[in-house]
Every structure is written in structure tokens, then in C-alpha cells.
Subunit: 217 residues, 2 copies
């Protein structure tokens, strides 16, 4: 267990290296809102602690140890979010910022109880998978709503989570995880799409919104 700062670096490295397996100093600096030399000096420290593999001018990779720590933090974040929604009655749009703090709480007992109360849940309120206590995570391949052909029907399985304004927007449109939607129209001009929803209403989503919604056929 490193410092709060260290944990946030590890978590960001994990997130940004998901696709390619590595992340660049500049990407990390942007994500964490710090300058390049800050990332640089932290990488040196994390390398000494064997949490990242880092050679000057090359991409940054998490070691196995680093990955394990990342997944432990992600587990705590997502368990906390679900707990805040299911047990404490908060909205899915307001839990991320609180979970950003709770994920750093060091108490196996606290998280064990949350896990028990929620019955070892598999997904957080935004549809993200929760790593198990051994760090095993069920990474599903995901299709964006924006990639579905007209006429197809699919179920919303997850959404991009960490922007409150985006989730507020979905709340206003009445969209939730688990909802079935049918693509009625895809506009060529601006990339927006029109959905048929269980509420019987037609819903129009801009490209910007639709691309952040993940579905399963």
C-alpha cells in the first residue's frame, strides 16, 4: 500500500494502458493534471518499487505487482460505488467522486462487509465489472451504441461513468443500465441516433452521447 498519490498514478496507468499495454508520460500527465516532470519523477519512484517498468523515452508499463495493486484499488472503487447506490440510496451520477476517496480507505474488513452486504456483486452501478478479491476481472468486449445498424435491438450494459453531467443527461433522457433500445435512425449528417425505448418514447442522442453507451445484442 503506497501513498494516495501513488495509488492514483497506478490506477491511471492501468486505465490508460488497457488497450495497448502501455501509456506515455504525456497522456498520464494530462489525465492526472500535472506537468511532465512530475510524472517523470514519480515513474522513477514507482520503478524502484517494482510497480512499473520504465525506461527513459519509452512507454510506461505496469508490472504484475503494479497490476495487482491497480485491480485492488479498482475493486474498492467499484464496490464503494455500488454500496453508495444500493445501500445508501445515492444516485449513480453522484457516487464516483465519493468513491474516488473511499477507494483509498485501508480496511479489509470494511470492504469485506460491503462485499457481503451486496452479495459479491459482479458489476458496479455504471455496468463496469468488479474485480474479485484475487484481482480477477471479467473484461467483456463492448459494442458502442454508435456502432449498431438501424433496426437492431440491444441492451444497455454499461456507460462511461466519471462525468456527472453525462449521467445527469442520461437521467433526463430516462436511460438506465439494462434497458432495451432499438435503433430507429442513424443520421449521416451529425452522427446522432434515434432510439425506441421501453418508455415507448423516441429518444434522440447525439454522437457524443451515444458513443459512451455500451450495449449487448
Amino acid at each position: 500500500m503506497g501513498s494516495l498519490t501513488e495509488e492514483n498514478y497506478i490506477k491511471s496507468i492501468y486505465a490508460l494502458s488497457q488497450s495497448t499495454g502501455e501509456v506515455y508520460v504525456s497522456e498520464l500527465a494530462k489525465k492526472l493534471d500535472v506537468k511532465l516532470p512530475s510524472v517523470n519523477s514519480m515513474m522513477k519512484r514507482l520503478a524502484i518499487k517494482k510497480l512499473v517498468a520504465y525506461a527513459p523515452y519509452k512507454g510506461i508499463k505496469l508490472t504484475e505487482k503494479g497490476k495487482k495493486e491497480a485491480l485492488a484499488i479498482i475493486r474498492k472503487h467499484r464496490l464503494a460505488e455500488l454500496f453508495l447506490v444500493k445501500v445508501m440510496g445515492l444516485g449513480w451520477e453522484e457516487v464516483h467522486d465519493i468513491a474516488e476517496q473511499l477507494e483509498h480507505v485501508n480496511s479489509p474488513r470494511f470492504y469485506e462487509r460491503i462485499d457481503e452486504l451486496l452479495n459479491s456483486p459482479k458489476f458496479d452501478p455504471h455496468g463496469e465489472p468488479i474485480p474479485d478479491s484475487n484481482g480477477k476481472i471479467h473484461t467483456q468486449q463492448r459494442t458502442s451504441l454508435i456502432d449498431l445498424a438501424e433496426g437492431l435491438t440491444a441492451t444497455i450494459t454499461a456507460v462511461t461513468e466519471d462525468e456527472k453531467s453525462f449521467l445527469d443527461h442520461l437521467n433526463a433522457k430516462g436511460l438506465q443500465i439494462g434497458d432495451a433500445v432499438t435503433i430507429m435512425k442513424r443520421e449521416m449528417f451529425d452522427g446522432s441516433i434515434t432510439l425506441q425505448h421501453k418508455s415507448k418514447k423516441e429518444i434522440l442522442l447525439t454522437h457524443q452521447v451515444a458513443e459512451r453507451i455500451w450495449v449487448e445484442l
Copy 2:
């Protein structure tokens, strides 16, 4: 809202200055397990921030602003403890250490929900009063079990909280907040006392234990 370190100093100053209104550098250093110069340099910083009144070689006092901040942290600590017991089903002996972390969570919403779920509670699991959201606290004068005469019956209202081993000991003896006890015998030799308890059993407590139990007649 200052740093975590600052908050811990403020909280300790509040606790240690309860009786006399002030606290000495050496007392604080002992409580926080740091050396004297650390306290010294922190006092300078807190004085600049108008959280303490501090003149070299004199006692340390919290300003009104400092008291307000202390009470806000104590409120969060005690709400968290009660939440952990009542909602999450943890034991009163295991919640203090978790609350030490949760008290630093910055989220009015989180604590508002806890307060709602618990119905604006007045006391924490150890019988300590919970300051209200304006920082108003109901400080009761307290009698120690050790000061009761033989034959008297009283109700346990609070216990010293932050040592797990002490609460484990009370659990083993079957004593809880709210229990009525009658003083059967006070031993002159070692200061121990024998209680009659609702469990019908007689309970023997050493001086060291009895002095940490607060009662009301």
C-alpha cells in the same frame, strides 16, 4: 478543509484541551506520536491559518474557527462509527480505526445521507455525543463507575472508545451501553469493583477497566 495531517492535529488539540482549554506541545507530540519540533512547526502553520492561538512557550488554544473545524471532524467520525455498526453490522470494537479514515472524507452528501439513514442520531456506539451539523455538541457531565458508592444502581452511558482491546474485554464481560449495573463491592486493596448485572451474573472489574466506564444514576 486542510490536509489530513492538519485535521488530525486540530482534532487532537480539541480532545486534549477539553478540560483546561489549552494543550502543551509535549502532550500533542505524545498523542500524535511525533517529535516536538514537528508540533512546533505545525503550530506555526495553524496559527497563520488562524486555527490556533499560539505564542512561543505558552499553551496552545483553538480559535473559534479551529473549534468549528474540530467539531466537524468529530461529527464525521462519530456518524461514521454509528453507521458502521447500525447499517453495516460491524462490532463497536472494530469501527474506530475505520472511522479515523472516514472522518477525512470530504463529501457533505455522503454524511448527509448517513445522518438521514440513522435519523439524526445523538450518540455514537460508545456513547459519545454527536455534534450537530452546526457544531453544537451536548457535553454531558459524566460519572465514572469507579466513583459510585456500594449499593448504588446506575446505567452505563459511555465508554472510552479507541482501544480495541478494551472493548473486546467489555464484550467478554457482556457489558454494553444502556446496561443497568449495581455496585456490590468496592475493594480497598486494589480498587476493583464487583457488579450485579442484568445477566444475573456478578462481574468483577479492575480499577483500570471501571474508570473508563461512564454511568448515569
